[in-house]
Symmetry: C2
Subunit: 133 residues, 2 copies
Amino acid sequence: MSGDVAWLDAVQFNADGLVPVIAQDAGDQTILMMAWMNAEALSLTVETGQVVYYSRSRQRLWRKGESSGNVQQLRDMYLDCDGDVLVVSVEQIGGVACHTGRKSCFFKKLEEGSWQDTLPVLKSPSAMYGKKE
Amino acid sequence: MSGDVAWLDAVQFNADGLVPVIAQDAGDQTILMMAWMNAEALSLTVETGQVVYYSRSRQRLWRKGESSGNVQQLRDMYLDCDGDVLVVSVEQIGGVACHTGRKSCFFKKLEEGSWQDTLPVLKSPSAMYGKKE
């Protein structure tokens, strides 16, 4: 970005220095997941073209796919009217965004008063993470 | 729901008692907005079939469309793998989710280092809110 980060100033981070980020499949518009970025993760995402989040549980940068190989290639990025939520339109490498091996993390659908799994497991978590985690 | 709220127990609210909710157009899958619900807003949304958020700025329930008329009719609801983010698939009455009069709140697209408006204003904010706010 060569030091030109005026676009970054428009992003309103919360008290913890984080902004929620919705990842959407650039192809069929499926909502894949929601996670968080700090300013560094956001800058790295734009600079590298691969999505980097900030893991609140691990308290460190989280390059999506660093363990599973399921990298997210950034296609487009959108900011909302208030400047405090981002959408990243991505190409989901491997076709799996969720650590459960499903395409999307939003696979539980409310049906008649209970949550029903609606998406198939495309990859086993042990196959995705067995070697590294 | 007749007192059957087991589905509600699966939702992980944050320390403020809130959960982020992504609203998606049930028709063309456009991501319309992101807002928050507390347990009461979530229950009311499911009971009434119209989306109710919790406004953090106003610190009260916010029936989407209460001022603008741009109600969101609930079609489906999804919970993510961690149970801490919801997606509501909605029919956006009036075709406008954003208070700026645009279909979606995510109308600022990052292009060559700056945010560019990408969606037309379909309704003037003064027309939407002039009489009531």
